[in-house]
């Protein structure tokens, strides 16, 4: 419990949390203002898709930074060494720290999104199930990138390293991963499409997008070809779940194995 309290106090003193929440609130409100002229029936769907498409520019990089700097701060302030010397192993420390980070970073955003539902109910025909799918999608994105950030913070020795790695990772998930798949897409056949599918959904951004668009009912896979059926060998929710578990587990294990105890700035 004290981990959560400590995390909360550190974050409200820092600027990162406010910057992230401020950005999310600003983007949401601006898009809502732009969307008020949309039709009552379809407005919610259009707004949510546009909001998601805008937020994916910010959420990965912001939460990468927040996760990374939150871990690195423990090194800077020597609390990590103290904890590891006394009662904690790195994995118990990271488990508690990750839990605290996720709770502190997520809660204000989720509260905001439930407040945001009020104007949505006024302007549009707001289906709660659809909205929950959207909130869950954003939540998964934040969880994954915070945890990847925790890995970055665990392995980095300096804040410059963190900034560099975080930007490279953001660039990778945002551009390079898809670009690499696009470069080999012409070699995809029925025999290897499952591998391609795994690689595609390993990008959490694509997994979340697919889940969101099918979950709110705007994207359908009706009348699929054989190739596409092979590609979609699981439900979008299952792909998202698998991608989520993979990244959470992989980054957690990598953090424990590759962590460095101290930074030098």
């Amino acid at each position: 419990m004290h981990f959560i309290w400590k995390e909360w106090k550190e974050n409200i003193r820092g600027k990162g949390l406010w910057l992230a929440i401020g950005t999310i609130i600003l983007v949401s409100v601006l898009l809502l203002v732009r969307s008020t002229s949309l039709s009552y029936d379809q407005g919610l769907y259009i707004l949510l898709i546009n909001l998601f498409d805008t937020l994916i520019y910010f959420i990965p990089i912001l939460y990468l930074f927040m996760g990374a700097f939150s871990i690195f701060q423990e090194k800077e302030q020597k609390t990590l060494v103290m904890l590891l010397t006394k009662q904690e192993s790195y994995w118990t420390f990271l488990a508690k720290k990750s839990f605290g980070m996720h709770l502190v970073l997520l809660t204000p955003v989720i509260i905001w999104f439930f407040l945001f539902l009020i104007p949505l109910k006024i302007f549009f025909k707001a289906d709660i199930g659809t909205y929950l799918v959207f909130v869950l999608s954003i939540t998964v994105l934040m969880l994954v990138f915070t945890q990847i950030g925790a890995l970055v913070g665990s392995i980095s020795r300096s804040r410059m390293q963190i900034a560099g790695i975080a930007v490279i990772l953001w660039f990778y998930f945002f551009f390079l991963h898809d670009f690499a798949l696009l470069s080999i897409i012409q070699d995809v056949t029925h025999e290897n499409v499952k591998l391609f599918s795994i690689a595609y959904f390993l990008n959490p951004i694509q997994a979340v997008r697919m889940y969101l668009e099918t979950g709110v009912g705007i994207y359908s896979f009706g009348h699929m070809s054989r190739l596409l059926k092979s590609f979609m060998w699981l439900q979008p929710g299952a792909f998202l779940g698998a991608s989520f578990v993979f990244w959470m587990a992989a980054t957690f294990i990598s953090s424990v194995l590759l962590h460095r105890k101290e930074g030098f700035e």
Partner: protein
């Protein structure tokens, strides 16, 4: 003629119809009547709130076999759903001309209203609810028009059927002000000529409207929104010629307009925005004219696949407004760009060869892919608009982006040194 007795009503509806005189008005009660019924003389059947005619689940609930029949203000349910039967069943099966079906709710039926060689009928304010997207193949169409001409279908609402409205060998019909959602194709024309569809709204369908092997149609003021699935489109024009497609809105579809093997269609003053592909133009599509359209904020504005047909991107000096993605000068202020709008893309090969590429159309990686291929000279001209429009372009800046950038800039420059690190670490204190 009011219905005789409430209690026995359910058993006697057919008997009452049989005993009615030509032109008689039968007022139904707020109760449930057992179908199936056959109307073989001109009469008027009027229900009220709570009036239901329930079929036996084995045939057509109401068969209209006389001209001049009017049926209104009731609910019809439970037609036969058997796909192996010699006949396709419907809540209403109309075999005759000049009938009116109005203010009707239909559910649990294979087809909603089926016009079979029936002409000059009016289907108005009919609501057909199908079984939903999971059951698309197992059910029929909302309104099915078969070998029937001159019918008027207006103000209907159709949800979750196979096709919303299906026209098969049906000419000179009008579909006005209908709303169709969550179907396979909202509107589907096969071998049907000279039909009009105006002011309809198509949302969340696999395909908004599909015009196949049909000529000389008029499509005006329709909205195609969120027809967004993997194979979706706002409007498909397949082997269809000489159609007028004007003033329609295509918004957030997988493809706005999808044209294949079609000739001589006029596409004028439509608004295509935020589609994955604005216009997908396949091989053997020639002589289309695109003029006065606003085509902007699509991932790909227009793509020609399987070879380049002879299509015109302007008419009499009026091209199309391609939005901010085509910065153009208009020094003489005549509303037409001083240079042509030319769009080159390398994606056409991928789209032709590999359907999975549609999964990436929203990815920012597409831009990198295009730029890289541009450098390597692997791209090809998709269209060349000699007279692109510039006068209608909005000069309003992209306000949200500017504000967000301003927030970041302020946050960063306010701190002056090691800003990013200070913002995120050290409890926000300078070091």
């Amino acid at each position: 003629m009011p219905f005789p007795e409430k209690g026995t009503a359910a058993q006697n509806l057919q008997a009452v119809i049989d005993s009615a005189k030509d032109g008689e008005i039968i007022q139904l009660e707020s109760t449930s009547y057992i179908g199936n019924i056959v109307i073989d003389k001109p009469l008027t059947l009027i229900g009220k709130k709570g009036t239901i005619i329930e079929g036996d689940g084995k045939g057509n609930v109401i068969s209209v076999r006389a001209s001049g029949v009017t049926i209104s203000d009731l609910k019809v349910t439970n037609s036969g759903m058997d796909r192996n039967s010699p006949e396709e069943y419907a809540a209403f099966k109309v075999y005759t001309d000049g009938n009116i079906i109005r203010n009707i709710v239909i559910d649990h039926s294979f087809h909603g209203v089926y016009l079979s060689k029936a002409h000059d009928n009016t289907i108005e304010n009919v609501s057909v609810k199908g079984l939903g997207k999971g059951e698309i193949a197992a059910q029929g169409n909302g309104l099915h028009v078969y070998y029937s001409n001159g019918n008027l279908l207006k103000n209907n609402f159709i949800e979750g059927t196979r096709d919303g409205m299906f026209f098969d060998y049906a000419n000179d019909n009008k579909a006005l002000n209908n709303k169709i959602t969550k179907t396979r194709y909202g509107l589907h024309y096969m071998y049907s000529d000279r039909n009009e569809f105006k002011n309809n709204i198509f949302t969340f369908n696999t395909g908004g409207a599909a015009i196949m092997h049909s000529n000389q149609l008029k499509l005006e003021n329709n909205q195609f929104i969120f027809n967004y699935g993997h194979r979706s489109f706002g409007l498909l024009v397949l082997s269809a010629n000489e159609n007028n497609i004007e003033n329609n809105t295509f918004y957030m579809n997988q493809r706005g307009l999808y044209i294949d093997q079609s000739t001589d269609n006029l596409i004028r003053s439509n608004h295509l925005s935020q589609n994955q592909i604005g216009i997908e133009l396949w091989a053997s599509s020639n002589e289309q004219i695109f003029t006065g359209n606003t085509i902007q904020e699509n991932t790909i504005p227009a793509v020609t696949l399987g070879g380049t047909g002879r299509n015109d991107w302007s008419l009499e000096g009026i091209g199309n407004d391609w939005g901010r993605s085509f910065p153009l000068l208009d020094l003489d202020q005549d509303g037409v760009g001083d240079s042509p709008a030319i769009y080159k893309s390398s994606l056409y090969e991928l789209i032709e060869d590999q359907e999975l590429v549609y999964l990436f159309l929203k990815s920012p990686a597409i831009n990198i892919y295009e730029k890289l291929n541009q450098l390597l000279d692997h791209d090809k001209t998709m269209f060349e608009d000699q007279y692109p429009l510039v006068n209608r372009r909005k000069s309003t800046p992209y306000l949200p982006a500017i504000i967000i950038i301003a927030v970041f800039a302020t946050a960063i420059f306010a701190k002056r040194r090691k800003l990013l690190c200070i913002s995120f670490g050290k409890n926000g204190r300078k070091i």
